[in-house]
Symmetry: C2
């Protein structure tokens, strides 16, 4: 596995591979890799001979009170795991190269960044869209693979790519969970033993919601109330949001129909966790 | 000359040309072509076998009270002129294809869009940066050619390309003037006979400023005052701004030294005209 830190070297290497007729798939990560990331690389490998994994803890997507400085890092372990999962090139740019003095250009996706995580993390998706646009321009991949775990990020990137005509195909990989259901996340390392158990309530609430909908519930508020009740019963929890929205526009729905995203963000102790699931509900046919 | 209106056809054609080993140079315009535009195409032709000229009156760079609906258009004449000036492909996208329902992603260049034209045209450069980013992604040119006439636009695009790592080389072409000095502009067609004469004061004020600096004047305000006096003496004129700024950062300078941009925007009657010149002043050596 090749390790590249320089932006121009990364561009040059990718250009060379393209000119050799290779397809390139990019897997953008913030490192501290887990099985979720590795699944992205394996999926990327199915699309492209050259898998480029980037590791960059992107400062501009963290708010001033967020965990930028404490975000977990383990570069050596990351290198080993990335290589094993089929990464051909590991791209590890430096902060100063990505955001040199005088940097002032940003990509703003407007509406769909306002709700869900955007409400409590203003500027977060602006930082995400900007760094992803930069990585796309540096690597110029044919494909880019993102995890469904970050559901709003997926919607934002899809929107950005469509709106700005970016020449890249976006591949979405399903959420990878621990055997007990907890969604894989680099931030899970923040959890104490008890919190780790408490954190299962996110998945349990989503499973319950799916069950309710399968049983015929069509009122979003009924589902959200039951989820709220279940989660609130866990003393270490504090709900940021629980929402049921249209999967593409991320706008709240009045009635459970169509392609839906059930998404939530919950603090367990001081750790903010997110989880979600996609649900398709056949539209009701109006009575004749 | 090929005329393409579909975005996907444009992307496909450009990809084909690239794969044939052709260099591509893009010349973005809003049409109603004049000799200034044609010089951009001729310069583009020196860099690339395939010159793609786009004609698109970009709605999102016009303010609500600006001249979007009355902006001059002459598609047939444009086609003839573009072909004669070496355009291989004329790209004429439709508004609805560029900005379909739900469009919501923009490129924001922050600081250097605030002064000069940005002050009286809020949102203008956001619209410019966004459409240029889109055109770059659709055409993926090796080069893009812009005119120095729109000096702030040049600085904004250079900044955007550097900040977002866009894989394109920006070529800047000098201002083309009428024999009497008036900078070529599609908006010159708005001027009445008298206004056309009055409009010469823009160029005359720049020439006078250059002369003052050459004679040793180093106080920006002294130069600006004289320019203001000269222009204000023309009854049909109304000054939007006259500024002397650093050519790269566009920040006002306290003393005339280094690479400077003298820029002005002046209404002649109801028509807003801009003009500028670049001046290099050797830095003074401090006395020993």
């Amino acid at each position: 596995m090749k390790i590249i830190r320089s932006l121009s070297e990364m561009s040059g290497h990718a250009r060379e591979r393209r000119e050799q007729g290779c397809k390139i798939a990019l897997v953008p990560t913030m490192g501290y890799l887990h099985l979720g990331h590795l699944s992205l690389m394996r999926i990327a490998r199915q699309y492209a001979e050259e898998v480029v994994t980037s590791i960059f803890v992107n400062p501009i997507q963290f708010g001033p009170r967020e965990d930028l400085s404490s975000y977990p890092r383990d570069p050596e372990r990351d290198q080993k795991l990335a290589a094993e999962a089929g990464t051909a090139t590991l791209f590890i740019p430096a902060d100063n190269d990505m955001y040199p003095q005088g940097f002032q250009s940003f990509v703003d996706v407007e509406k769909i960044t306002q709700g869900l995580c955007g409400r409590s993390r203003p500027g977060h998706f602006r930082g995400v869209a900007t760094v992803v646009a930069k990585l796309f321009n540096i690597v110029q991949p044919h494909y880019a693979v993102f995890g469904q775990k970050d559901a709003q990020q997926v919607a934002v990137i899809r929107r950005m790519v469509a709106d700005l005509n970016m020449p890249v195909e976006i591949i979405i990989a399903p959420i990878v969970r621990e055997p007990d259901g907890l969604a894989m996340s680099s931030r899970n390392v923040y959890l104490s033993g008890q919190e780790r158990q408490d954190a299962l309530v996110l998945y349990r609430s989503l499973a319950m919601a799916q069950e309710m909908i399968q049983q015929g519930e069509r009122e979003p508020q009924a589902v959200i109330s039951r989820m709220t009740g279940l989660i609130s019963a866990v003393p270490s929890s504090r709900i940021d949001y629980i929402e049921i929205v249209d999967a593409a526009s991320l706008e709240p729905v009045q009635r459970l129909a169509g392609e839906l995203l059930l998404a939530l963000a919950v603090y367990i102790g001081r750790t903010r966790l997110i989880d979600n699931c996609l649900v398709t509900v056949e539209k009701e046919v109006a009575a004749l």
